[in-house]
Amino acid sequence: MYDIVIIGAGVVGGMIARELSFHKLGICLIEKENDVATGATKANSAIVHAGFDAKVGTLKARLNVRGSEMMEQIATDLGVRYKRNGSLVVGFNEEDETTLRSLLDRGNANGVKGLKLLTREETVALEPNIGKEVTCALHAPTGAIVCPYDLAVAAIGNAMDNGVELKCNFEAVKIESRGEYYAVKSENGEILAKYIINCAGAYSDGVAKMVGDDSFSVHPRRGEYVLLDKNCGGIVSHTVFVTPSKMGKGILVSPTVDGNLLLGPTAVDGEDKEDKAVCPEFFASIFGIAERSVYGIPKNKTITSFCGLRSVGSTGDFIINSPLPRYINVAGIESPGLSASPAIAEYVVQLLRDSGLNLERKESPVTKRRSMHYFRDADRKTKNKIIKENPAYGKIICRCEGVTEGEILDAIRINPRATDLDGVKRRTRAQMGRCQGGFCSPYILDLLSRELGIPYEKVTKNGGDSYIVIGKTKEEKL
């Protein structure tokens, strides 16, 4: 019997697990996929929004501004790449300028610091490559960028350091209330816990229905992105948005913490919560808009494109409530969910405290974690010391991103452990470069097969039936 089961190991579930793990509680984090951080956490804009966008007085506004304030410290504690690069919302005409003015007012009301409306000249001074038609911009110096799955992995790893149990491939299909506790059932058995926290993202409405709460629904909003090669991130230093429309914050052009350039997202409302198909037509539209806001985007440096699903709640705000005793919804966490995630965790812990849960802090919980990038970030002397102790760090496996065997083994051995190719990619960047795993994936398959003690043909790209090879040659099975 656990005190708390958290359903969904994305960045929100992970941050809540971490915050709760500092307390004397038995916690289990369950995830339906083969790895953590595979839903909306995996594919989003990787932005820590300043907080001028959300409507005044909403949870979104409050938690965004608070989360943005907390993020730098948390990223430092968890060794996660974070950069306060500032953001610009660019306008092209007077109508946009009016919108930007109202954003400025809204931001001020939300408590965002340092907002300023810039002229074209002031904008060009900050970003020389800004689009030629840009006439004005809203500058938010507190805007930042962070790697969302790095953050989720590190938060969950930290929670596990404090004893939280992680169960992947454990999909909640039924929840029974049994008086003082709940039974969360999946095809792989059941988990008993006194409290449930529903962080199931796109599926959080389904989980709520399992306990009889049908007060909200969540629908997926597709967002397609294009990622450009590492040497392209320098074209802009700020995150550059276009003035928002009803459907989202508009197409952005942003450097990532790893130096890539990210363009996107589109915003298409859908029904299918698994439909991450990229429309062949979207490339033209994304580049069209992006090239208007930033000049000289090197299109031919595209290395990949992907689609993320934002979980849009039916209420227009984050849905964080407790409709039943010892049960909390954390749903509809669309943008600015990543930015708000540390504050959401703080808020949920407060809700639990208010509901009478005894939250006694551990004497010395682990609050910091060695960065997954410690080898990469080390100086040459330190690196050579590490290689001497463990020669695996001397051997480069992913040549495009310069990732060593030692780092890949860390990803497979350190909690939360990577058990598939994509898991290794998110943790180490191996396969994320120009060749997209063309050279290194067979070597990573070797390492996964060896470390997990499973045959080659059982290693997957991302769990389920996503096998890489179907069998050995010369075995007449075909």
């Binding site: 290689i387 991302n462 090879v469």
Partner: protein, 412 residues
Amino acid sequence: MTDLVIIGGGPAGMSAAISAYENGVKDILILERDDSLGGILRQCIHNGFGLHKFKEELTGPEYAHRYAKRVRELGIPVKLNTMVLEITEDKRVIATNSHDGIFEIQAKAIILAMGCRERAKGALNIGGSRPAGVYTAGTAQKLVNMKGYMPGKEIVILGSGDIGLIMARRMTLEGAHVKAVCELMPYSSGLARNIQQCLKDFDIPLRLSHTVVALHGGDRLTGVTIARVDESRRPIKETYEYVSCDTLLLSCGLIPENELVSGIGADISPVTSGSIVDQDRHTSAEGVFSCGNVLHVHDLVDYVSEEGEIAGKGAASYIQGTDVRNTDIKISVDGKIRYSVPQRITEKKDVTLYFRVSGVYKNVRVNIYGDDKLLISRKKQRVAPSEMETVKINRDMLDNISELSLKLEVVQ
């Protein structure tokens, strides 16, 4: 201090090492990232290599073996499992391996011979889902030939480059069903012999002017949508066609793996993505030479070896201080000829120009002008982008000219 550091122990690097040695430079070090010499030839187990060089038909491993054996015989040192991380303008090579850690070597000259990589799916803008089962042809080749694993059993191949064609045959021989090879262009970029012996021999359809517009499937690929493309290579909606398959192999072009040159500021050709070089394969960075697929993508390994020899010899002269610069002739190409290597000539001597055309042309003349004077005119029945052409320039043609221009003229 090492006289010559060669980055890459594939056909270009090995040939360059042997040539430099035979031209008098004995202090050589080859740095190879894999666990054995040979480069990509090790996984190219098919035959067709060596007809120019050895007048016999060899497989990739056999061709590599001849050079590796010679490197061994000459006692040229090789560091295996060693990855070069950076080279600097003052010719320091920074590399890493498990044994030495991260180390630096000061070189008098460097030869770049890192080869190329395949264009990945991300660069192709294919729509649809992102399931497992999509590989570059070279990755599939490694899995099948080196590791002994089958990526799948129902295969569609996008791109009719030679590796794609070779893999169509290879997968078929190992029991898979190759359903189609789609080629964006109206002509194949592979060799005619490979269309015959890899596709026609096995009744595999080649769909010219076709591309893959979308992937389907959740965990693993279940099919692809293919489409005919119009003259500007845009897919035509009315021709969308679903083909079920569990594997998509991509053979959509090779790109020189040239990232190391960013550290030395050598001029790069936007056409080849390789360095701009002179007749000795000397880049614009002094003492740094380039050869093989990192310089420009070749279709025949024999030419790679030849280029390695030129670079090895050039580096030897440079190290010995016997290199001569007695002219500076720029080599220009018209649009129908995409590029030439070398791009400039700095020493008056016999020079072979290697070049590629930008489309399929029939009944043409390759005309080479020295300034405005026609020096060479060679008739060709057919030229195609997939086949590298060569033309030899004699030393005496190089007197008193400042530019050589290569033009492809269609004969009416």
